[in-house]
Symmetry: C2
């Protein structure tokens, strides 16, 4: 990118851009590409000298926690993943309280292998399943720690000079969407995850929303149908009791409703089996999906009435079954919500992709970097120009 473009984007004068970039060049944070000549289509005039972020100057670390693994990624300042690693942590065997230490050493080992000095890491982002308290930097409840409350951010902060944070995985998907396509995913939108549980991510007024105690967007339990199906939370009529994979298998196989969700070996295989049954016309499977779709419609109605999102994104492993649920979903939506409100949003159905969590961590880290280091610059542009935000998003 040329200096003149940077000036356009940040709304700083060419003079200021020169001053700042020459500072950054001295610090080695950016590089000038004078040697290579990409010969742009530009006709005449002094050619632009392109600048790029120095690849090795600043790194970000992304950690994704699942039941058995710590997945680490080393990301450079340009947002490119440089290196990946999976470290085993069997939460069934090991004591959950040893986890923070295990995470710190895993990161240390990872950096050593990559030959990166820990002092060059300036952000460490962690994504976990379950209920995450962003403010206190703890995992309040997660299947990975069999429900125990584990502090994550504080131990990391002690061990590394980097800024550390932790967030919910669904929230990271939401952030990833905004990062990958800001023109489509901006302002106010909702992400609904159909998986083992049923989660939701909310992006409101151009920022991630996680509620007063960080447990907002509990879409799976935000529905309530009096006297409805039994949920593993103990209540009746939750969305999860119709839509999560164990609930789908339970309903389609006519298992007693108090069957322990764990004994229903649902997961990926159970869902695949159910999809097969539905594909071959099995009435029980089709009925189950239809009922699930209707309840999903109710849930979407609720989100629209409460939040009024521009867009709702449906994703998670279970979207593969969307074709079996679509019709009844629209019917449920129509049954539950007046047309005026119903027509103000669009629905994206997005095939599920695990990498989104990492993208979200990258996006979040980048934004935090922005705030911490370039805060002054972004404030400037905000103060001066409230005009064309299009140009800014480019």
């Amino acid at each position: 990118m040329a200096r003149i473009d940077l000036g356009q984007i940040t709304r700083l004068s060419p003079a200021t851009v020169t001053a700042i970039t020459s500072d950054l060049l001295d610090q080695g944070l950016i590089l000038s590409l004078e040697s290579e000549e990409p010969k742009t289509h530009q006709a005449r005039g002094r050619p632009r000298t392109l600048l790029k972020l120095a690849p090795g100057a600043v790194y970000i670390i992304c950690a994704r926690l699942s039941v058995n693994n710590i997945d680490l990624s080393l990301v450079n300042f340009a947002g490119e993943v440089v290196r990946d690693k999976r470290t085993k942590f069997d939460s069934a065997k090991a004591d959950a309280s040893s986890f923070p230490g295990a995470l710190t050493s895993a990161i240390r080992a990872f950096l050593e292998e990559a030959g990166v000095d820990p002092s060059h890491v300036c952000e460490i982002g962690v994504a976990a399943q379950g209920v995450v308290e962003t403010e206190t930097g703890q995992v309040a409840w997660s299947p990975a720690f069999s429900g125990r409350k584990i502090p994550i951010v504080a131990p990391l902060q002690d061990a590394f000079a980097a800024e550390c944070y932790i967030s919910n995985d669904t929230n990271m998907i939401t952030e990833a969407l905004h990062w990958s396509d800001p023109s489509r995913y901006s302002g106010t939108f909702a992400v609904i995850m159909l998986d083992y549980g049923v989660g939701m991510g909310l992006y409101l007024n151009n920022q991630l929303f996680s509620g007063a105690s960080g447990t907002a967007a509990e879409f799976g339990h935000a529905n309530h149908i009096p006297g409805g199906a039994l949920c593993r939370c103990g209540k009746r009529g939750c969305l999860e009791a119709y839509l999560s994979d164990y609930a789908l298998v339970r309903a389609a196989s006519h298992l007693p409703e108090d069957t322990d969700p764990v004994t229903i070996k649902a997961g990926v295989s159970g869902l695949a089996q159910l999809l097969e049954r539905a594909g071959s016309g099995d009435a029980d499977a089709l009925d189950t999906f239809q009922e699930a779709g209707r309840v999903l419609g109710y849930g979407i109605a609720r989100v629209i009435a409460m939040i009024d999102p521009k867009r709702i994104v449906l994703t998670g492993a279970a979207v593969r079954a969307f074709s079996f649920m679509e019709q009844s979903m629209w019917e449920g939506l129509e049954e539950a919500l007046v047309a005026d409100l119903r027509n103000n949003f669009s629905l994206d159905v997005m095939p599920w992709n695990e990498d989104f969590i990492r993208s979200g961590l990258i996006a979040q880290s980048m934004e935090r970097l922005d705030k911490d280091f370039l805060g002054a610059a972004s404030q400037r542009s905000r103060r001066i120009g409230r005009a064309d935000s299009e140009e800014l998003s480019a």
Copy 2:
């Protein structure tokens, strides 16, 4: 307030405060109280010279629109109401399209009576019932205009030099709460209004939330009980179909469910009558309130699961019936939501007061003034100090 305090609050150095205040003194926007000596308890040292906002320098106008009236208030820079006036506008008789003109002339006449030059007015805030599109400055649907879409902000903007805006009345109540007691009403909280309809105001992440198209927080229609009571929106099982005054009267008097809400003369008198019946032990009235309370509990459960507010405020004319609904409300909440989520919030039941709408307009106007004129100062303090926000809120 003394200069030294201003420095503390804004995190500016005493030198800068002196520079800025002497500017403002020259401009006549603030006054120095050197003559009066309030003899504070301060022991020694150079006495503080208190500064105050100049009463006549800058004015705000607040306009509240109801079915028959335009209620105007003139507010000075200190947030004190200087003058009030009610202007009739019979929306049943007059054409709705003549309303913007009527509003402009009402304001002009009001200013003339008050002897205030229109150029000294720097904010005009309008609050309306119904569906308000804040972005476009229009009333999209309101009982006051029999459902017609009326532009409000543009005509005002043309007629006056002031910054103009329009907002929903429930949103203004939400803003008023934050303004009146920021320590209690900050961060993320919800306001539920029980009235002719059932409205909600959401304050999320320290800002008013109104959704992508400005129609968020449709609490009255966010509930859905399959096969439930018929709502005037045409759907079944909305909260409004149980909780609004017409629904209460309808249920307690066993009127057919398709009775036109307008013919049910509910309003204040209908509700008062119902309260009397309940007070004297009328079983139908008591049952009605009990059912309403249970459904309210469902609705609150939904808000908690979706939004996770720190606090929920219950207000509106119908809170007078709260004692008849309370028990079943808690039962409904317990039925619909798992305890972990249920215990994270507190409930305020607040007697309804019409003045809250005006307070909200004042608060909103003040905040806008802050942004427009003092933006630089507040950015400064944000950049420098992320420490004790308590001091700032003082």
